[in-house]
Amino acid sequence: MTDSIKTPFFFVGALFSLLVFVLPAAICNAQDEALTDEQVTFFETKIRPVLVRECYSCHSAQTGQSRGGLQVDTRDGFLVGGDSGPAFEPGEAEGSILMSALEYDEWAMPPSKQLSANVIEDFRTWIEMGAPDPRIITRAERDYGAATVTADDIREAKTQWAYSQPVQVPPPAVQNSAWTRSPIDNFVLAELEQEAISPATDAEPYDLVRRLSYDLTGLPPSQDQVDWFLNAYESDPDRAVAIVVDGLLKSERFGERWARHWLDVARYAESTGREVNATFPHAWRYRDYVIDAFNNDKPYDEFIREQIAGDLLPAEDDETWAEHLVATGFLAMGPKSLNEQNARQFILDQVDEQIDVSTRVILGISVACARCHDHKFDPVPQEDYYAMAGIFLSTSTHYGTIDSQQNRRPSNLLRLPDEDPDPYLKQMTSAEIRELRQEFDEVRESAANAARERRLEQRRGADTRTVNQLRQQENRLGAQAAILEQIVNSYDQDGNPLSFVMAVQDRDQAINARLLVRGELDQPSDEIDRGVVQVIGDRQRIRGDRNSGRKELAEWMTDEENPLTARVMVNRVWKHLFGNGIVRTTENFGSTGEPPTHPELLDYLAVEFMEHDWSVKELIRAICTSHVYRQSTAFNENAFERDPENRLLWRRTPSRLDAEAMRDSMLFASGQIEMERPRGSIVTRAGQTIVRDGNLSSGIEVFQLLRESGSETMDVREAFRQRARQQGAAGMRQLRDRLQFEIDDSSLNYRSVYLPVIRDNIPIALEAFDFAEPTMVVGVRGSTNSPSQALFMMNDEFVIRQSNEMAKAILFENHNLNDRLNAVMRRIYSRDATESELEAMTRFYNTVDSQVTNSRQRTPEREKISAICQAVFASADFRFLN
């Protein structure tokens, strides 16, 4: 920590208001007109030499330094400024940070020696002139590298399948027309018949009902459901399937399952990840929004518009407006490097992430590839990237994060218009909150004073020890202020808890981005009008300086003439129901992706999807009631020889349960599962804090503990020791429970979608089983067999706990060994054990050393049955679905 001139309180004034903080609005204060010779000469003779000589060594990309977050080797560098805000507003020298620093007022730059009065006057003149700055690269000077995308390339690309509108052709005729149940079947069967491959036989009804239940809800069917289905299927298979599909789609478990698929691509997480892993305690609102959207079958186009531009959509009431704001959390919850020194770099990286996630998730193309240069293989020139960048640069992103010393890039959150307070905040009295506010003001002021004093001392050349002492004091006060701030900002004046949301807003002033040569900050070139990618539709330019263009972007994305949006979602749904997409590269419909295996089917479904009001449930219903979906996984050597990857769908591709379905199924079998949706998650309870060493602890609780103990320091360890002296081990335990939240809490019994998703600290139960890496867009999860999975199943507390609970119930309900062993299989698979399974289990039961170590109420019977339950959970059968 050497170099920060950080003022951690800069944001305080603007925090938690509905207004946008001012800082980056000036990110690209236009300098449209060509510079006059006079202006250029002034800059080149009076300004540039001083910058190079006096400033670049600490504030330029060239030297890799950005002290205090500031780089001054481009005009934008000044305008975005550093940790303390913009260096100046063009035309307004008075009161600017730059002038204050040059004049050795509050800041003192350059630190070694004050510049001469003449030079300072030159800078004042320059700013008053509007800060004309020729340090940009003209179009002619740009180095495009080898690949360039020309207008011709784009015109030609518009004729490729992905960029032409889907067209519905009549379902092809098939020879075996008796086999078909829906036009979907015609498309698939026609291809198979052409290859002279016959489709697989129908799945066993038992396998089919399990498949439906897992695919639609992520849970196994109950014994009753299985029994009913087997019966109904016998008399009328189509009707039985239709009824089951209908029932599952109505179940609230459906949304919990399908929301998770969306959260995978939306890289949903409850912390920033990266170097300073700060929590997002309000991210869960987005999670619940997605679950509700799937359960309520919100039309997909609306779902997308809300996530890209919910804040700009009309809302008839506060509740709707609140929902729309929550939806825009999609843009706010990307991973962030909160210790990025350079403010401009941070914003551009955030914009890049927003472009990347929205184009790959919604359009199935990658625009972010074009940040640095054109790619020959994709019809997205660099200009298109910067056209979109302008849209997101004109947008402010509100993600919160605790304003602590390590966090160089905190942001504010938005108030939720519809009160729905954090369930973990206690009501306070108005007197209490008044007192806290006062305390906060005091601490903040002392911290600011400490910072000022430290700067003064540093300037006077004080010795390291003095400076360090002052810095420590500053840090301690800063930490206190950060927590106090969080508390007081969470309440209104009367002590009522408030509700906040991660979301985006348009900035007051919309701006265009400058194209950056090779994506480098210090290589700015032309300003690019805001707009969308040219290859889709007619190019739209967004005009006006009040309008970011996000609404237009959302409308363009969900326009029925956009060739990609419907296809991409239809393909995702298909992927989750068949294991592979019709386009297997679900995020890449471009020329480097795989072509569709059934292009006409893809288009048929896309058009149907749009015609049925973008209803995801109708789409799923149509697919699940098709005959293709009902195929068995039976292996067919002949078909395999011709089509080893099952692209033609000659059978059902065997699938495996994902992490959530496995954990939920264990809870289901043990009878411990809690279906009620928890409020928030443990991250919500912990509040805004930083996750260290895999530990999540509540800053507010720590602070309160320190107050209770009357401690002067912010040293938690010291407070713990004090508490231990006072109250002994029991007090310590109590304290831990209060302060510390276990990311791997194996006693949580709710569905896995509600487990905390802290970047780089995913619960083991999910992490071990190919959970979607939440820093990335994951349309297709990995599928590995790793020893950590085996270790989890053999040794983890959660698995042992479920096995024990299940054994307890089985022993209570059944009285002879055969019944008990059958009960194991019934609870897990809703079927009796087979002869050979019974044999294997009995053999284990009779030969395993029954001596129980460490037993109190646990009997050998229970231990053995429990071990058998665990073995069945661990077996391949539990993981693989037919």
Partner: protein
């Protein structure tokens, strides 16, 4: 271990196990169709003969290095006080520096060592004794001037996006040789650095397995720490080994029944193998981590049981034990190199903690004949400024610093590249982090331009579009 009165099925199982990683080793079941299907399933690896993603693979070309020990010096050690001798800096001591402070000549003396006569400072007396094995790269440079991001770039080539780490790429390229151990082990990685040994878009099997995370000093409850530290779930809290073996037999019995019903399901064989590997790991991992069988001499060599070398000595010894057992890539971390202040006391302290263990590791590898095919790499994320910070400290410097390698086909007693007269920036044979990666892969027999993985529609490399091999350092 109670492996008597085996069921016939178990004997069959053990035969499979003894044949190593063969996912398809159930010969009776390995029909042509099934194996071809297996390949289709794991099309990620379709270019390989083997279907097992961890099976040892031939490198792109012959190379000496078979395994890597990466000694990661977190916090950025000062190059000009250790391995980059700058007499002119000493002469210019006190003059105005290029940045804000005055030039600070190294307070420590340098002398020549070994037959090669490499200049090394008195802070590394033991390592200096191995001078003729060292290949110093004195022209390192990187893009990032801040720790975490530079660490990320050093590990993954890229600080901006999440990318696979060097170890993951190596494992992806070469597979591993011990079927009872993970192929890439990160010893005591600091919390929050998961990305630095992560697999990113590579299959998860190539992720580094973290072992013995640095003891958390937080107030977390014991159970939470246990579950997230060392290796999670490496032992069963209730069952004896024999009980667990029998339970595993039941699991495998059920698995085989399933496989019998559906012989064309190679993933089930994958499950069967992963359970056996996990079961082997349960004994292999603690065995490798138990150093009680090492001789006094060996322990002394690493400075184990002595102050202040004990902690790092143990890690170095562990690293040797792991690579000796066939682990492909082991990373060891030593922290606290960030000497902005109190350089005169803290740098000697940091050096004394690692000097003897590192020399011990090199000696031990040499004695065992392993140094020639083990590449030992020593590096921080960047270096430090020749000008002083606050009189007795040095600031970050990413423009020029020193790393070194030993063994594994590099020239011993060799110095490559140079910084300017004061040590600000690399001026001769610059070795950017991409070049460094290209060179390490090359030493392992991997062509950094051919070691690619297709993700999001394009072929990714560790070195992106960069990387020049420092051919001069290859023996």
């Amino acid at each position: 271990m109670n492996l008597q009165n085996l069921l016939p099925s178990r004997r069959q199982m053990l035969r499979t196990v003894s044949s190593g990683f063969g996912y398809l080793a159930f010969s009776s079941l390995a029909t042509l169709a099934a194996s071809r299907e297996a390949r289709a399933y794991s099309n990620l690896f379709s270019q390989d003969e083997s279907n097992n993603p961890l099976a040892p693979r031939s490198p792109h070309f012959g190379a000496k290095a078979k395994r890597v020990i990466f000694l990661c010096m977190r916090g950025a050690p000062s190059h000009i006080d250790t391995f980059d001798y700058k007499p002119q800096l000493t002469r210019d001591n006190g003059k105005e520096g290029r940045r804000r402070g005055k030039l600070l000549g190294s307070p420590w003396s340098f002398s020549q060592h070994g037959e090669s006569g490499l200049w090394i400072s008195e802070l590394f007396p033991e390592v200096a004794g191995m001078a003729d094995d060292l290949c110093l790269i004195r022209s390192m440079n990187t893009d990032q001037p801040v720790h975490a991001r530079a660490q990320t770039q050093m590990h993954t080539g890229n600080a901006q996006f999440v990318r696979p780490s060097l170890g993951a790429w190596t494992l992806y390229g070469l597979g591993t040789e011990n079927d009872s151990m993970p192929g890439f082990v990160a010893l005591n990685p600091p919390a929050g650095t998961e990305q630095n040994y992560g697999n990113s878009f590579l299959p998860a099997i190539y992720q580094g397995t973290k072992v013995g995370r640095q003891q958390s000093r937080s107030t977390g409850s014991r159970s939470a720490q246990d579950r997230r530290s060392a290796l999670p779930n490496i032992s069963n809290p209730n069952m004896t080994r024999d009980q667990q073996r029998r339970q595993l037999d039941l699991i495998q019995d059920l698995n085989r029944q399933r496989l019998n019903d559906d012989p064309n399901h190679p993933e089930i064989e994958g499950v069967i193998e992963s359970y056996e590997l996990a079961f082997r790991m349960q004994s292999e991992m603690p065995r490798l981590m138990d150093i009680s069988g090492e001789t006094e001499d060996t322990l002394d060599l690493y400075g184990i049981g002595q102050n202040p070398t004990d902690a790092f000595g143990r890690q170095c010894l562990m690293a040797r034990r792991f690579v000796e057992s066939g682990v492909r890539f082991v990373e060891v971390t030593a922290g606290n190199w960030d000497h902005h202040a109190n350089l005169s006391t803290r740098l000697p302290q940091s050096c004394s903690e690692v000097d003897k263990p590192i020399a011990g590791l090199l000696t031990d590898l040499k004695q065992r004949g392993m140094l020639e095919d083990t590449l030992v790499v020593w590096a921080g994320e960047f270096g430090r400024t020749p000008d002083a910070q606050g009189g007795d400290g040095r600031d970050h410097n990413n423009k020029g610093y020193t790393s070194w390698m030993a063994g594994g086909g590099v020239k011993g007693g060799f110095s490559y590249g140079a910084t300017d007269e004061h040590g600000y920036e690399a001026v001769e044979n610059g070795c950017h982090i991409h070049d460094w990666h290209a060179t390490i892969l090359h030493l392992m027999g991997l062509d950094h331009e051919r070691l690619t993985y297709r993700y999001a529609g394009r072929d990714f490399r560790l070195t992106d579009v960069h990387g020049n091999i420092a051919t001069d350092i290859i023996a």
